[in-house]
């Protein structure tokens, strides 16, 4: 009775795919939009989980209880919408601040991690060299 219909499944898939793709971008603004879209998808999923085909709002007196939509997922989704809003504005402020301080809003690679990668490359090179030396000594 509660199975999500195919249209909605496609919509959910589309929303999540878009959200994931934006999340993988370098621009903070795009990442933020990705989070917003993922939030939309999640809220929709919550509401659909409560039974999509009843179509009757959970208002007492309008319909018998058996034919009402499940109120619990709706309450959760409602909370989720508001919290997503709080999160969005906060991230927006962060992105704005990053723009002010750095002059761009791109997510850059971690400098320390890059340094370790360089060290690893150097060490690997040194290892190879010593091996080569040992080999040449052995052949001599």
């Amino acid at each position: 009775m509660n199975t999500v219909n195919l249209t909605m499944a496609i919509v959910l898939g589309g929303l999540y795919a878009t959200g994931f793709y934006l999340l993988l971008q370098r621009s903070l603004m795009r990442v933020l939009l990705g989070i917003v879209i993922l939030g939309h998808g999640a809220n929709l999923l919550l509401q659909l989980a409560g039974g999509s085909q009843a179509g009757r709002p959970p208002m007492l007196g309008d319909a018998p209880i058996e034919r009402m939509a499940d109120p619990l997922p709706q309450a959760m989704a409602l909370t989720a919408i508001v919290i997503t809003f709080a999160l969005t504005t906060f991230l927006l402020a962060l992105a704005y601040r990053a723009w002010q301080l750095l002059g761009h809003d791109e997510v850059q690679d971690d400098v320390e991690d890059r340094r370790i990668r360089r060290l690893e490359a150097e060490l690997a090179e040194a290892d190879e060299e010593t091996e080569r030396e040992l080999d040449s000594e052995a052949t001599r």
Binding site: M1, N2, T3, V4, N5, L6, T7, M8, A9, I10, V11, L12, G13, G14, Y16, T18, F20, L22, R26, R30, L33, I37, H40, N43, L44, A49, G51, G55, R56, P57, P58, L60, M68, D70, P71, Q74, A75, L78, T79, V82, I83, F85, A86, T88, L92, A93, A95, Y96, D105, V107, D109, D110, V111, D113, I116, R117, E120, A121, L123, A124
Partner: protein, 788 residues
């Protein structure tokens, strides 16, 4: 018992301020708690030997079965005499040894006392976890005492090596304890001893515990931290790394002998490792020129000897172990303290530089000779008595013969390096100038003199020693034997072996110089120190390699990996468990179709948008369309909230967008980078779509909670809108939490935006001021300075 242990630690805690001002007095104060422990143990000695064992329990978590349990049995009594007795003497000796204004002196008094407390707790522990805690406390004290101020590179490396090796062993041992405790249902050692565990669990636990014992007691191949730790001041080496801490491993095996009596491989493993250690230690000791290092390798050799005895599991073997523990504690502490005096009074410990010390310091030399005789096994010292018992323990046929031969050869080495120590340290040498020596203060000589006399007394008064050792051995193996410690057992094989050992050792010492030349020519392919360094080096190399490959530092890569994990793990489970989805249909309400179309088109638009405002507006379109979906799906409250929030979000975005460039500034990524992103995102979307279908089809009835809410909303809250009733009444606390999230976010936003504004204002003000002053129109201070 607990009070005594705590008093050690408490005094140690209060001692540093005293040590700062009155360093010498601090050592006297520090000697008090061990002295109290010693008196207490002596007062209970008679009762313990009669079979009465005082027990103390403090439960600190009854539900978890965690408790401190202390028990004074014979082994604990023997070890307490060693730990507290030598502790008192070493602390008194330290009063003279350390130069008073030095940092080492101030630091060592409280640390030595803390160590004595930890060691005291360790030997009394009757609970595996209690034992482990004190075990690691001694390791930490050792780290701090070896490292001292950490100024010299050598002491840093030595203390780190000791810490790493012994804590590695300690962790493995903890694992063994847990296996033992969990399979037997109790961590109490006395209960475990009453019903020795059997089977593979006990065998595995024994292997793990042995690793801990071997690292702590410096057995090959873990032995090298001990000579390295000799950078510590001599009293510390004497106490920690000769007399007490390194014996913890041997003690542990002795303590667990009744528990592990069913593990058949234990005596074999301890015998093999112990004998190898005995050889390696003795062999290296014959080559060292530093008296302290010579003694350190000697200690390793003796620890190997003790390990063989501890694992023997036979009555005579355990008897010899108890005797040897006392003997080794006494003579090794004496020798270290004497070497400390020589070092302190001459300024060197090098055999090649010392000459004629014995003639100038006859009393010191006498003390050293007494201890050395005990070490070599010369009658009537305790060392001789204990060694006789050890030889007796392995009389017999079969594998015992191999162990016996090993013990004799190891003892030959012991005699040889003992002779090397005495001759090298105290004899007059023809080709060396007599060393300049100042006589030591009497207070400094007194502690080693006491222990040296103990070597003699324990041997001469062998019935007392025997009573102590025999009681321990009887309880450890569960039956008594005929053999007793003694000076004279008639003309028998052990006596002959003792004689062979002495003569062989002296001969070896005489020809040692020639042997050393030979030894230098032999290749040494297995160097434990190089092995340790190589392991540490490759560990660091591995860390760089793993970090360099795993921590690439790029956010998209991390997120991609997370998504791939989601696809791989829950995704594959989803594929495997495909249950037929019932009642599949295209839509429930025709209105869903146009809304879905709007959402999908807008989503595609967001992805392709290059202008920020377009993307934001399209996201708004998605939001409103989802509000529409809520209406169709029967959630008017949701829809209202969604419309409101969407509008607010749009406004916030537009406010920020005013200040940002119109287009996205990121450099467009290449096809090679974009394609995987597209594929991963599409796969993620498909995964979510499928998951939604399958999860929702698994749920056939509304939850009982929802039903309760529906039924009781009206009478409980007098509201007909059930969603409202849930948010405001049934789950009101959740809503309060939500409100606080909102408040926190608002505060964050406000502080971020306002700080930006004030920074801008400051900047403006400064640039205005500068433009004014450089133009020279303002008669400001800065402008004035600029002109002059």
């Amino acid at each position: 018992m607990l009070a005594l242990v705590i008093s050690h630690l408490l005094v140690a805690l209060l001692l540093p301020p005293v040590a700062m001002r009155h360093t010498r007095a601090a050592y006297l104060v520090a000697a008090l708690p061990p002295a109290a422990a010693l008196c207490w143990a002596l007062a209970h000695a008679a009762a313990v030997l009669a079979g009465d064992q005082p027990v103390e329990r403090v439960t600190w978590s009854a539900t978890l079965g965690l408790e401190f349990v202390f028990r004074l049995d014979t082994l604990a009594l023997v070890m307490t005499l060693l730990v507290s007795g030598i502790g008192v003497l070493v602390l008194l000796y330290s009063r003279w040894y350390f130069e008073t204004p030095s940092g080492d002196a101030k630091r060592s008094a409280p640390l030595l006392l803390a160590f004595a407390g930890a060691m005291f707790g360790l030997v009394l522990a009757d609970h595996l976890l209690t034992l482990y805690i004190f075990w690691e406390l001694t390791t930490i004290c050792s780290f701090l005492l070896v490292g001292q101020s950490g100024v010299s590179r050598e002491s840093r490396r030595a203390s780190l090596q000791a810490l790493l090796v012994t804590t590695l062993g300690g962790l493995v041992m903890l694992l063994g304890f847990i296996v033992l405790g969990e399979t037997s249902g109790t961590y109490r050692i006395s209960r475990l001893a009453a019903e020795p565990p059997t089977g593979s669990a006990a065998a595995i636990a024994t292997g793990l515990i042995l690793v801990g014992a071997f690292t702590k007691s410096a057995q090959v191949p873990f032995h090298n931290w001990l000579p390295a730790a000799m950078v510590a001041p001599t009293p510390i080496s004497a106490y920690l790394h000769a007399a007490s801490m390194v014996k913890a491993g041997v003690f542990l095996i002795g303590r667990l002998t009744p528990v592990l009596s069913e593990v058949s491989y234990l005596p074999v493993v301890t015998a093999v490792f112990g004998l190898v250690t005995m050889f390696v230690g003795g062999w290296r000791a014959l080559r060292e020129y530093d008296l302290k290092l010579l003694l350190a390798y000697g200690t390793i050799s003796q620890l190997g000897f003790l390990m063989v005895l501890a694992g023997s599991g036979s009555y005579t073997g355990e008897l010899a172990l108890a005797g040897m523990l006392l003997a080794h504690g006494a003579f090794k502490a004496t020798l270290f303290l004497v070497i400390g005096i020589v070092d302190h009074q001459t300024g060197t410990r090098d055999i090649r530089e010392l000459s004629g010390v014995g003639r100038r310091l006859p009393w010191v030399a006498t003390v050293a000779a007494l201890a050395a005789m005990s070490m070599a096994g010369v009658p009537p010292m305790i060392g001789f008595v204990a060694k006789e018992a050890a030889f007796e323990a392995y009389l017999g046929a079969g594998p015992a013969v191999a162990v016996e031969v090993g013990l004799v050869l190891g003892s030959v080495l012991t005699v040889a390096y003992t002779a090397r120590l005495l001759v090298g340290g105290f004899a007059s040498k023809r080709d060396t100038m007599p060393t300049e020596v100042h006589p030591p203060p009497v207070g400094m000589l007194l502690p080693p003199a006491v222990t040296a006399l103990l070597c003699l007394a324990l041997g001469v008064a062998y019935p007392v020693t025997d009573e102590l050792a025999a009681t321990y051995a009887e309880r450890a193996v569960g039956h008594s034997g005929e053999y007793h410690l003694g000076l004279w057992h008639g003309f028998n094989l052990p006596l002959a072996l003792s004689l062979i050992t002495l003569l062989g050792g002296l001969a070896l010492a005489a020809y040692n110089a020639g042997l050393n030349r030979l030894r230098d020519r032999l290749p040494s392919p297995l160097d434990a120190q190089r092995g340790y360094e190589r392991v540490m080096g490759s560990l660091e190399r591995l860390a760089v390699g793993v970090t360099g490959r795993v921590q690439v530092g790029s956010l998209p890569t991390y997120l991609g990996i997370i998504l791939l994990t989601v696809l791989a793990v829950p995704g594959s489970v989803l594929l495997i468990r495909v249950t037929p989805i019932e009642q599949l249909r295209w839509w429930d309400n025709v209105l869903q179709l146009p809304l879905a179309l709007v959402i999908l088109i807008a989503a595609a638009g967001v992805v392709r948008a290059t202008r920020r405002i377009t993307a934001v507006l399209l996201v708004g379109v998605i939001g409103y369309a989802i509000g529409g979906m809520f209406i169709v799906g029967g959630g008017p409250d949701l829809a209202l909230t969604q419309f409101l929030v969407e509008t607010l979000t749009l406004i916030a975005f537009v406010l920020v967008l005013r200040r940002l460039p119109a287009r996205f500034t990121e450099t467009p990524s290449s096809r090679r980078v974009r394609l995987p992103k597209v594929l991963i995102s599409l796969a993620g979307g498909v995964f979510v779509g499928f998951a939604a279908l399958i999860f929702s089809s698994a749920r056939d009835t509304p939850s009982a909670v929802s039903r309760e809410y529906l039924e009781h909303a009206e009478e409980g809250t007098s509201a007909t809108n059930v969603v409202n009733a849930i948010i405001i009444d049934f789950r009101a606390f959740d809503t309060v939490g939500e409100l606080s999230v909102l408040a926190v976010a608002a505060t964050g936003v406000a502080s971020l935006v306002l700080s930006a504004r004030s920074a801008r204002r400051r900047k403006h003000a400064r640039s205005d001021w500068e433009s004014l002053s450089t133009a020279g129109r303002a008669p400001g201070e800065r402008g004035g300075k600029g002109r002059t």
